[in-house]
Structure formats: structure tokens, C-alpha cells
């Protein structure tokens, strides 16, 4: 026997979904706050685990350790992006006969857009997705519950250690990605398009602003924390068997990609504005 139909089922359904969405936001906020508070516990009680997680994140495990884990992936992505910047920048400027200014393009796009966004995407796709899959698999095979029963503080042991790891990893990762981006653009411009290194260096150094590089660094650290929070949330709360783990991973990467692009767009517009801080005449 089913209950009698309510007066306005669409209204009730709508309200329920609004309330569910609201609760979901509350859940996430509570999780994030607890995770950030647990960082203290992780640093006091689980120092060995924290160091193990950092090592695992930076260098990778298994077959990945051979090629250097996340660091290799991010450099690989940045090499591609650097080439892309060189191809687009050189073709467009050569089209107008000002290919000397391609150094400007590298000095502007690399620290402002490519390095922060691509590094964070690399973080999300490798260690982020890996963390969601691992925590999700632990959740559905009830290993997290087992840890709880044994008296291990799971928020600190599983989530906060990864947060610390992502912060520690973000700074060298950003340096590497900036360096790789600059060098790969310069390589393509000088060796494939045959521009002299003096011209390139002159315009590159003229337009490269040290504050841009600092902002890129800060942006990567913040994005690393956000990515790790999102991914551990989705992994920690996975449900619905193996398919649920897959779905959680997909949703986590989707959420972090959306957040990252929005953050990059907002930061880009806020810091550099419409004119782009650009002064050709000096």
C-alpha cells in the first residue's frame, strides 16, 4: 500500500532537493573544518605516516617510481604547454612581423595561467584521483571502519596527512613547472624557429615580473589544499560498491577541475585586470 499522494508533489520534491543540497554543503564544510583541525594531530601522532605519504606523493610507488611520479607528470604536461605557448605565440607574432616579442608571451602566459592551472590539474589527476580511489576502496571494504574501531584517528591518519603532503609538495612542484614551462618555450623558439637567444632573453626579462611568479606560487599552494580537500572528501564518503568508487573518483576530478578553472579565472582577473599590467613603451 502506498501513502496517499501529497497535495503538491513537485513542490515537496523540489524542497527536499533544496534541503538535501543545503545539507550536502554543510557536510562538506564540516568535513573540511575537521580535516584542517586534524592536521595538528597528524603532525603530532602520525609523523611517520605523514612522511611516508609525502614520499609516496612526490616520487610515486611501484612502476611510477621509475619515472618520478607526480613531478614527472607535471613536468611532462608543462613541456607540452610550453611548446603550445611557443607555437601559438610565435605564429601569431610572426604573422604581424613582431616575432621578437614572443619572449613577452612566454613571460606572461607561463606564470599567470599555464603554471598554476596545469600544476593544479596535474595534482588533481594524479595524487588527487589516486587518493580518492584509495580512500574509496578502503571505505567500501570497511577498512576505514576497522581503523576507527582500533582507535586510530582516521581524519588525521588518512585525510590530514594527505593535506600536509599536498602543501609540502606544491611549492617545489610549482618551481619545477615554472622552470620547465619557461625552458620548453625558449627551446622551441630558439631551436625550431631559430630566433637568436639575445632577442628572446631581452624581451623575456623585460616583461617577466617577479610578483607574478610569487602569486603563481601562492596560487598553487592554495589550489593544492583545495584539490586535496575535495578529493579526500569524495573518497572518504564513497558508497555503493566498486562502481561507487569509480563514480566518486570521476565526481571528485570534475569538482576539482571546475573549482580550479573558476579560481584561476577569478585570480587572473583580480590580479591582472583588463590591461594586464602591460607597458610596451616602458
Amino acid at each position: 500500500m502506498s501513502a496517499p499522494t501529497a497535495r503538491a508533489p513537485w513542490l515537496i520534491r523540489g524542497l527536499r532537493s533544496v534541503v538535501a543540497g543545503w545539507n550536502h554543503i554543510g557536510d562538506q564544510t564540516a568535513f573540511y573544518i575537521r580535516a584542517i583541525i586534524s592536521i595538528k594531530d597528524a603532525l603530532i601522532y602520525y609523523r611517520t605516516e605523514t612522511i611516508r605519504v609525502i614520499a609516496q606523493m612526490s616520487m610515486g610507488v611501484g612502476a611510477l617510481a621509475l619515472i618520478g611520479g607526480t613531478i614527472a607528470i607535471v613536468s611532462f604536461l608543462l613541456i607540452n604547454t610550453g611548446f603550445l605557448i611557443a607555437i601559438v605565440g610565435y605564429s601569431q607574432t610572426a604573422n604581424l612581423g613582431v616575432e621578437a616579442l614572443v619572449g613577452f608571451f612566454s613571460a606572461y602566459v607561463n606564470p599567470r595561467l599555464a603554471a598554476p592551472l596545469i600544476t593544479a590539474i596535474g595534482l588533481a589527476a594524479t595524487i588527487g584521483a589516486g587518493a580518492t580511489a584509495q580512500l574509496g576502496a578502503m571505505r567500501i571494504s570497511e577498512e576505514i571502519d576497522a581503523l576507527d574501531v582500533m582507535g586510530v584517528r582516521t581524519m588525521a591518519y588518512l585525510v590530514a596527512t594527505r593535506l600536509v603532503g599536498s602543501v609540502v609538495l606544491a611549492i617545489p612542484l610549482c618551481c619545477i613547472s615554472l622552470l620547465v614551462g619557461f625552458l620548453s618555450t625558449q627551446f622551441l623558439v630558439q631551436f625550431t624557429y631559430g630566433q637568436s637567444s639575445g632577442i628572446y632573453d631581452h624581451y623575456f626579462h623585460t616583461f617577466l615580473q617577479p610578483t607574478d611568479v610569487l602569486w603563481a606560487m601562492i596560487q598553487v599552494v592554495v589550489q593544492g589544499i583545495v584539490v586535496m580537500l575535495l578529493h579526500t572528501y569524495f573518497g572518504f564518503n564513497a558508497s555503493g560498491g566498486p562502481a561507487g568508487v569509480g563514480e566518486a573518483t570521476g565526481r571528485a576530478v570534475r569538482a576539482s577541475l571546475v573549482v580550479l578553472t573558476l579560481v584561476t579565472a577569478a585570480v587572473g582577473l583580480a590580479l591582472y585586470g583588463r590591461s594586464g599590467n602591460f607597458h610596451l613603451s616602458g
Binding site: 604536461l77 605565440g89 594524479t126 577498512e143 584561476t264 579565472a265 602591460f278 610596451l280
Partner: protein, 255 residues
């Protein structure tokens, strides 16, 4: 089982991957076809990758073109804004975004799903019940990723060009007519076709890699995490190989 030389392990991995790919291609054209799973997976992939692809296309293209426009406005060549936009969107950023989203969001999810099934011995259970996991699980996933990356490349290109148009016209003050007129200066039909083929081939590669890594997970939940990680690594490498090969083909076609 015979004792293997450790140096032979990478070769064995490659061999097993190729064997599974061949199995998949054979099953792809033979008669029992898991339509329901294909539709489910296509829908899931689309749901996971649509919004990030659109947002990435807007942000990435608009910012690159915005910075380029800053320069060419300064030297008074704003009419040429469309050339760089077309080159960036069609030939470079469009395929790159397809790869990031398909490899980063969809393939990792498939690998995590299959990996979690493997460590719980569900794949072996399917084999025991006489169900072929390649036919039931791998073929629909590979087909779904291929279809989605084919569609996403077109969508990414459209969104990118439109975002560039909006940025060029409303932010940089370029004339919309001259933007449209300068679009085809460096980019033509062969580039568009190559870009679509690139994305499609990439979908196939990402699907095969994700399924292979998912099926060969070992060592519990830690293994699933590692496998997801490796999926991303190998799919991005596949991108590099496919990109180089097709760029060489394009260079041959145009000369």
C-alpha cells in the same frame, strides 16, 4: 608459473596490454554487444566531463588570447586577433583540453571502478559464471570514451572560438568582422580533421589503458590508488605519442 627474469616485466606488460587491446577490438565488432552498459558509461562520461571541458575551454582560450590581444592591440594589429585564436583553439588547446578531461576525469573513474572490482575478485567471479569481462565491461567503456572524446573535441573547439570572440570583441575591442575574417589565415580543413582524429584516437587509447590498468590491479586499496595514478601517466604519454604522429601526418599532407 615459471620464474621470470625481472627485466622482462615491462615487455610482459606491453604484451598483455596489446593482447587485451586485440581482444577488445575483436569483441567490438562481434555480435553480443552490451548496449545497456555502453549507454550507462557514455552518460556517466558525459556527465563527468561536460562541465569541466566547457569551463576549461573558456578560461584557457580566453586568457591566452586576452594576453596575446594585449600585445597586438599595443602595436595596432587588432584585426589579426582571430588568427591566433583559431590556431590556439583548433590545433592546440582543443585537443589538449579533451585529453585533460577525458584522461583526468573519465579514464580515472573507469580505472577506479574496474580496479575496485578486481581487488574484490568480482572480475574472476564473472569469468567463473561464464561471462566475458572484455565483452561485458571493456568494450562498452572503450566505445563510450571514444564517442565522448570525439564529441568533446567539437564542443571544446566551438566553445573556445566563441569565448575568444567574446573576449576579443567585448574586452579588447576588436571588430567582430575582422576576427572572423582572420580565423582561416593559418588554420584550414586538414587541421580540423586532424584535430578530430587526434581526439578520437586518444579516446580509444585512454579507454584501453584505463581498462587494462583496472584489470591488473594487485595489492588491495593501495593498488587501486596506484593504478589510477598510472592510468593518468600512461594516458598523458599516449597523448604525446598520438600528437607527434598526427602532426607528422599533417606535415606530410600539407607538403
Amino acid at each position: 608459473m615459471a620464474v621470470h627474469h625481472p627485466a622482462a616485466k615491462p615487455l610482459r606488460e606491453i604484451g598483455a596490454f596489446i593482447a587485451m587491446s586485440l581482444d577488445t577490438f575483436v569483441e567490438l565488432v562481434s555480435s553480443p554487444w552490451a548496449w545497456r552498459e555502453f549507454i550507462h558509461q557514455s552518460w556517466f562520461t558525459a556527465r563527468v566531463s561536460l562541465v569541466p571541458a566547457i569551463l576549461l575551454a573558456i578560461v584557457f582560450n580566453a586568457f591566452v588570447i586576452f594576453l596575446l590581444d594585449v600585445l597586438i592591440l599595443e602595436i595596432g594589429a587588432a584585426d589579426n586577433s582571430g588568427t591566433g585564436a583559431a590556431l590556439a583553439v583548433v590545433a592546440q588547446i582543443g585537443p589538449a583540453i579533451t585529453v585533460l578531461v577525458i584522461g583526468g576525469a573519465a579514464a580515472t573513474a573507469m580505472c577506479a571502478d574496474l580496479g575496485a572490482r578486481t581487488i574484490r575478485d568480482e572480475i574472476d567471479a564473472m569469468r567463473v559464471m561464464g561471462i566475458d569481462p572484455i565483452q561485458r565491461l571493456v568494450v562498452p567503456r572503450v566505445a563510450a570514451l571514444t564517442l565522448n572524446s570525439f564529441l568533446l573535441s567539437g564542443l571544446g573547439t566551438m566553445v573556445g572560438l566563441f569565448a575568444d570572440l567574446c573576449f576579443a570583441v567585448y574586452v579588447s575591442g576588436v571588430n567582430p568582422g575582422s576576427y572572423a575574417a582572420s580565423l582561416t589565415l593559418l588554420i584550414g580543413l586538414p587541421d580540423v580533421i586532424i584535430a578530430v582524429i587526434k581526439a578520437t584516437l586518444f579516446g580509444i587509447a585512454a579507454g584501453l589503458i584505463a581498462c587494462y590498468k583496472g584489470f591488473t590491479v594487485g595489492g588491495g586499496p593501495q593498488g587501486v590508488g596506484t593504478a589510477v595514478n598510472e592510468t593518468v601517466v600512461y594516458t598523458f604519454m599516449a597523448l604525446y605519442v598520438i600528437n607527434t604522429l598526427l602532426s607528422a601526418v599533417l606535415a606530410q599532407v600539407q607538403h
